[in-house]
Amino acid sequence: MRSKLFAVAALLIVASMVLAACQPAAAPAPETIVQTVVVEGEVKEVVVTATPAPEAAKPAVLRINLGTYPDTIDPQKSSFVNEIAHLKLMYEGLTRLDGDLNTIPAAAEKWEYNADATEITFTMRPGLTYSDGTLLNAKRFEYSILRNIDPATAGEYAAITDDIKGAIEWRTADVANLSEEELATLKAGVMVQALDDAGQPCTDYEQTTCNTLKIGLAQPAPYFHVVMGLWVTFPAKEELIAEGGDIWWNASKFHVGNGPFVLQNLEPFVRAYFVPNAAYWRGAATYDIEYRYITDGAVSFEAYKNNEFDIVPLGAEDLATVQNDAVLSKEAQIYPGSCTFALMFHQLKEPFTDQKVREAFSYALDRETWVKDVLKGLGSSTLTWIPKGFPGYDAEENRWGFDPEAAKKAIAESSYGSVDKLPEITATFGDTPRNRVRWEWMVAKWKEVLGVDVKLNPVESTTFTGLTKDIKTAPQMFILGWCADYPDPQNWLSVYWKTGAFGERIGYSNPELDALLAQADSTIDPEARMKLYADAQRLLTDGAPVAFMWNNVNSYLVKPWVKGIIQTPQDSGWVGDNDPLTITIDTTMVP
């Protein structure tokens, strides 16, 4: 009996679901109303036909598929592009990037370095407030920068502010074995100070005269104003972080920011809804933004075609469909990105200890065909490290490009003399269908040009990441890239190639390059500085430590009613997110 009842109930539930799904949307219909009216003392009944009000104008909402839901939306703990895409809407740093990647004032009205660029002083923009109308003074930025350095925060990008005097000492302190007084002393040693108009340390967040932020630098760092535009400096409110505890970032009410948008609603893994910040100093945007998190490219593409999204990432698998479609091809926006990918040779593992072998493998790579056939046009070939569009790009560099004869000659000139004397060469990669295609192409090319057999070693993706992090476990040969944190050659060259930096994983260490980069990093004159970086980049390429291969492109589909987008290589998350204020939505075009 019970099972019968259960079956009937279940049937009813499913039937109701089906019926609800099949129910057509009710169209507004004229409604007949009988009203009683008084006409010159006489009571009459009249029939009035009320015509429904026309549908309200469509609200302007920019619907974006961001893909993966963020792990955290805490400015001082975030590190991924999708996380930054949220933060950039809600907060703003002291500086920001314009459409040409120049650093321009944002929350700070101006800044100036001292004579030897060991100190930078920001002057706050007058009258700045948070979205809730409360004052935003320099003390807020002092807090956020110190919070980034604080070892208790353990932010994943904390090291990016290590140029600040005293920052490394506090950040890397042995917290477990130091007393609170010792830690307080280390904190006090960090040269970040909010000052009032009289030059005195600010007292609190309500102080209207707290307009100056002075930052001491451990060594000359004339690029530091660029770093101060990064998300790690975004001024989340101390009291809200304290109130929300460790998971403050997971609720919209604690995200009171100074950026162009306000997070109105956050439903984890489903959607984030942003409305314009009326208090934003550059004026309010004219549309809302909705982020959704569909990670399946095919579904995202279908939803875009179905007008359910206005902006979606365009994947390589959909590129041919888009290019062959008269409408979609006009909606595709493909433009240079901020990453360079290179074939990494482990400098301490044979045969790549020999520069001639490295040169040979580099010469044997036909990068143009690679971009056309393997990347399906979603990339551009390169022979240098800093990509086109970024300060420091070297358009003249042409060494180690595709040249089969030079490749064979280089092998002959190597200490091995011929390919049959080379030790076994293994290429390691994260095992994905895409990577398999890529490596099979590459191995075939080496076989064709050099006659060398390269073994493939696919490993699970996270395992691959783990292997490449350590000089001891890093594979003999693998592909790796670098994406800019900020558009300055210092970030491309010093951060990556100085001894002890990321390039060390393949055993790269060049004292001559270290010295040149140290000189460039501390040179104040912009022209002289850029010249030194250009020399450094040439010096890096001299030794062919890696084979530079391609730069990525950002690729999106954008509906025609989304106007005014300015593309930059530093877009993080979606096209135009560097400056959403330039964007408008023509709601008359929205179907």
Partner: protein
Amino acid sequence: MGRFVVRRLLWLIPVILVVSGITFILMHSAPGGPWDRDLSARQVDPNTQRLLNEYYGLDKPLWRQFVAYIIGDYNKDGSFKCGLVCGNLGPSYRQRGLTIQQILFMPPEGKNFFYSRFGYSIRLGVYAMLFAVILGVPAGIISALKQNTWADYISLFIVTIGISVPNFVIAIFLIIIFASWLHVVSIVPRSWDQVDVWILPAIILGFGTMARTARLTRASMLEVMRMDYVRTARAKGMAERLVIFRHMLKNSLIPVVTMLGPSLAALVTGSFIIETMFGFPGMGRAYVTAIGQRDYSMIMGTTLIYAVLVALANLSVDLTYVLLDPRIRLD
């Protein structure tokens, strides 16, 4: 029966210990860790990694990490932090600040439990199961009763599709047909509060189970149909409807129920593919993502929840046997 249930529930303790031990060994055997980042981006600074390892206890020997997870450990301030025995599934290493319980069971702002990841998965799993049973069992019965007729062939055709075609293929087909062409549903639900947005995910998730249920019901019915007691029931003039439902169906459901128990556990713990395709905020995506991210506590937590659900489902299957067949005695 009571003793049986208690005994089976007590057996859960060693089951959980063994499952957690195996999971712990496997996940720590894989290279990489929770602080690994995309290789084209800045990696987490070694000092920050050290701080994070200290904070989360990942700097301790593995055996101690395991004991800390199961029983608990002393914090730096000397306080005892209880582990799994207190229902604590540990902190997430990637969703900083959140515990596994919060990620799986905490609803978003202003919503109830059914809007948590676990709640979403349970709802979808139940809908999928309803779909599977309501369509699968009758399809199996009809197939068996009308063996080798067009009804049987159609049913077998659908069942074969359900078993042989992967659900992500079915999903994209149904999305294109019902969302892109017919515009009956939207591909990206504006809100999971609408009933209609659940239909496609539930059908796709339950399709395989529906197919297996139909196949098993058919096979089981065919076997039961030839039994002496069915012939006797018919011979004594019992109405065909009663023969089918009272004698044949009830007896043929035992293997079906055996299969449905673990299926229900699998359905309510979510499906990575369905959740990925529909942007569904359930547990399946959390589980698979956690494996790639080496979010150890999340892997352990979701595995254990899955283990407990499977154990409970098996227990409920055993209890259902008694209802279906009075000859079965659990004690």
